[in-house]
C-alpha cells in the first residue's frame, strides 16, 4: 500500500512538469514561420475556391452535354423508327391509276437501213437508204390499227448518159384494222400482209438476218392483199404448244393487160409477165375496178408450234390461196406454201419455205412458178469464247431458188454475218453467188453491207 502511494506520487509529479514545460515549447515557433504558414493556408483557400468555380462550370457543361445526348438519342430513335417503317413498305413503283390511264396509245416502230454493195459488172456504191415506219394506234384493249410504209431513196436515172437525179419512193406495205373479237378469233380488214408462209409477216426487213429477201418474195407470192381475215391461236396444254390458223378473202392477183395471156404481149417474153400479183387493190380514178373479175381469192394457213424447252422449238405450217386472176375470170391463180422453223438452243436457228404456184393462161397453158429458201444462223456466243467481239457475231447462210415458169431459173447461195452492235442496231454483210439462166436472168454475184436499225 505504501509502494502504490509512492508510484501515484511520482506520476503526478511527472504530469505537473509536462504541463509546465509545454508552453515553453509552443513559444519556440517564429513569426516568419507563422506568416509563411498563414500565406500557404490563404493560397490553398484561393485554389480551393478556383477549383470550386471550375467544378461548377464543368457541371454546367456536363448538363449541357447530357441534354444534347438526350436530343441525339431522340433523333436516332426517330430515324430508326423511320427506317423500320420504310423497310416494311414494299419497294414497288407507284401503281398506275386505271381510271386515269389513257385507253388510246400511238406508237411508231419500224426499221431503217442503209446499204453499200457491188453487183457483178457494176461499180460499187451506196445502194439503199430505206426508212420503213410502222404506225400503231391502239383505240382500246381490243382494237388496233396498224400501217406500214416503205420510203426508199433511189436513182432516178436510166443507163449512164440518159438521165440523172434521184427520187423517193413511198409505198404502203400494209394498213389493217385488227379487232380482237375474243381469245380465239381476231378479225382483220384492210390491206393485209398475207400469211402465205411466214416471211411476209415475220421475217421481212430488219427481222431478216440477210440484207435482201429470198427470191420468191414478191416474185411468185403476193406480199399483201386487200380483204378481210379471221385468225387466232389455240393453246395445246400448258407447255407452250399451240395451233394457229388464218382464213382470209382478198381481191387476189390481177392482169396487167386485162387479158389471160402469159406475157403482156402474147408470145413475147421481153414484154414481161402478164400476171400482176400486187395491183388488185381497189378502184381506179374513173370509178372502175382495176380488174374485172368479180370473185375474190380465198386462202389461209394452219400452223403448229411446239417448244420442248426454252429456246428449243419447232414450227410447221402450210398455207395456200386460190382465185381468179384474169379479168374475164377464165383462169385461176393458186399457191401452196410449206414453212418450217427450228431453234436448237439460243444460238442455232434454221428456217425455210417452199412455195408452189400455178395459173392458167390463154396461150401458154398452165404456168408453174415455184421457189424455195432455207436459211440457217449460228451465234458465235455459243462457242463460249472469251472474245467479246466474236460473241456478238452471228454467221448466216442461205440457199434459195426460183423458177418463174416463164423460162428463167435461178439458184443463189449466200454466206454472211450479222454483228450485233446492240439488240436493235446491226451491221450485216453477205456475199451471194447466183446461177441464173433465162430471159430474166440475174447477175452472177453480189455483195452487200448493211447497217440496219429496228425501233
Amino acid at each position: 500500500m505504501k509502494n502504490q502511494s509512492v508510484i501515484w506520487g511520482i506520476a503526478a509529479a511527472g504530469c505537473a512538469m509536462t504541463i509546465v514545460c509545454l508552453p515553453q515549447a509552443s513559444a519556440a515557433v517564429s513569426d516568419e514561420d507563422f506568416n509563411a504558414l498563414k500565406k500557404l493556408v490563404v493560397e490553398q483557400g484561393q485554389k480551393i475556391e478556383q477549383l470550386e468555380k471550375t467544378n461548377a462550370l464543368d457541371q454546367q457543361q456536363i448538363q449541357q452535354l447530357q441534354q444534347q445526348l438526350g436530343q441525339t438519342q431522340i433523333v436516332a430513335t426517330n430515324a430508326a423508327q423511320k427506317v423500320e417503317t420504310l423497310s416494311q413498305i414494299q419497294p414497288t413503283y407507284p401503281l398506275p391509276n386505271p381510271t386515269a390511264g389513257a385507253t388510246h396509245n400511238f406508237m411508231l416502230v419500224g426499221d431503217a437501213e442503209v446499204q453499200f454493195g457491188k453487183t457483178a459488172g457494176q461499180h460499187s456504191g451506196f445502194a439503199l437508204a430505206d426508212f420503213a415506219p410502222i404506225f400503231l394506234f391502239r383505240a382500246n384493249d381490243n382494237v388496233l390499227f396498224e400501217a406500214g410504209f416503205d420510203t426508199t431513196l433511189q436513182n432516178a436515172g436510166g443507163p449512164p448518159g440518159t438521165g440523172g437525179g434521184a427520187n423517193t419512193s413511198f409505198s404502203m406495205s400494209f394498213g389493217q384494222l385488227d379487232y380482237l373479237l375474243n381469245d380465239y378469233v381476231t378479225v382483220i380488214a384492210g390491206d393485209m400482209l398475207l400469211p402465205l408462209g411466214t416471211y411476209n409477216e415475220r421475217n421481212a426487213g430488219w427481222l431478216n438476218k440477210i440484207p435482201d429477201a429470198p427470191l420468191l418474195d414478191d416474185q411468185i407470192l403476193p406480199g399483201s392483199g386487200v380483204g378481210a381475215q379471221l385468225r387466232g391461236a389455240v393453246p395445246v396444254g400448258e407447255d407452250g404448244q399451240m395451233l394457229t390458223y388464218s382464213v382470209y378473202g382478198v381481191n387476189g392477183p390481177g392482169s396487167v393487160t386485162g387479158t389471160g395471156t402469159a406475157f403482156q404481149t402474147s408470145g413475147d417474153p421481153t414484154s414481161g409477165p402478164n400476171l400482176d400479183l400486187g395491183s388488185n387493190v381497189g378502184i381506179l380514178g374513173d370509178g372502175t375496178q382495176q380488174n374485172l373479175h368479180g370473185n375474190p381469192s380465198g386462202g389461209g394457213r394452219i400452223g403448229w408450234f411446239y417448244p420442248w424447252k426454252l429456246h428449243h422449238d419447232i414450227e410447221l405450217g402450210i398455207s395456200g390461196q386460190s382465185g381468179e386472176w384474169d379479168d374475164a375470170g377464165n383462169h385461176l391463180w393458186s399457191a401452196a406454201v410449206l414453212d418450217a422453223a427450228v431453234h436448237l438452243g439460243p444460238y442455232v436457228e434454221i428456217k425455210g419455205e417452199y412455195a408452189n404456184t400455178w395459173y392458167g393462161t390463154d396461150d401458154a397453158g398452165t404456168i408453174h412458178p415455184h421457189g424455195w429458201w432455207v436459211q440457217a444462223g449460228y451465234k458465235l456466243a455459243g462457242l463460249n469464247l472469251d472474245l467479246p467481239l466474236v460473241n456478238d457475231v452471228e454467221l448466216v447462210g442461205r440457199y434459195d431458188g426460183l423458177n418463174d415458169g416463164l423460162g428463167t431459173k435461178t439458184d443463189r447461195y449466200t454466206a454472211g454475218f450479222v454483228y450485233y452492235l446492240n439488240n436493235t442496231l446491226w451491221f450485216e454483210g453477205d456475199y451471194e453467188y447466183l446461177s441464173s439462166h433465162g430471159p430474166a436472168g440475174l447477175p452472177p454475184n453480189d455483195f452487200v453491207l448493211q447497217l440496219s436499225y429496228g425501233f
Binding site: A233, G240, S246, S334
Partner: protein, 137 residues
C-alpha cells in the same frame, strides 16, 4: 362448144388446184398430227421446259408395271418470262422491258398477238411480265 370447153378447162384447172392444195393440207395435217403424238409421247421421258427441275425417274429392274401416273411429268403453267423467252426470240432479238412504257407495251403486245398469232392468255402473261419489269408508267 368452145365456151363449154373453156368452162371445162376452168373447172378442171380449179379442181386440180384445189386437189393439190387439199392433198398438201392433208399431208401437212398428218405430219402435224404425228409430230404432236410423238411430242406428247416424248414428253414422258424428255425434260421439256415445264419439267426442267423435275427429277427423272430411272427405269429400275422390277417386274411390276410402272405407275404411269407417278411417272407423268408435273404440269405447271409457263410464266410470262418463260413465254417471253420462247416467243419473242423466234423472229427478232429480244427487246428489253425497260425500252418501253406500260402503255407502249400494251400496244406492242396487241400488235404482236396479231402478227405472231399468239394465244390470248400467253400474250397477257408476257404483257404482265414486261409491264412489271419496265419500270415506266
Amino acid at each position: 362448144m368452145m365456151a363449154n370447153r373453156n368452162n371445162l378447162d376452168k373447172l378442171f384447172s380449179a379442181a386440180r388446184g384445189f386437189g393439190a392444195a387439199g392433198a398438201g393440207i392433208a399431208t401437212i395435217t398428218a405430219v402435224i398430227y404425228l409430230a404432236s403424238v410423238g411430242a406428247s409421247a416424248a414428253g414422258d421421258t424428255n425434260a421439256p421446259v415445264t419439267t426442267a427441275s423435275a427429277p427423272k425417274v430411272k427405269n429400275t429392274q422390277t417386274t411390276a408395271k410402272p405407275d404411269k401416273k407417278a411417272e407423268a411429268r408435273p404440269k405447271r403453267e409457263l410464266t410470262g418470262a418463260e413465254l417471253y423467252a420462247i416467243h419473242c426470240n423466234r423472229c427478232h432479238a429480244e427487246r428489253y422491258p425497260a425500252e418501253f412504257t406500260d402503255g407502249q407495251w400494251k400496244t406492242l403486245m396487241l400488235h404482236m398477238r396479231v402478227r405472231a398469232n399468239l394465244p390470248a392468255k400467253q400474250a397477257k402473261l408476257i404483257l404482265d411480265y414486261l409491264q412489271d419489269e419496265s419500270g415506266h408508267y
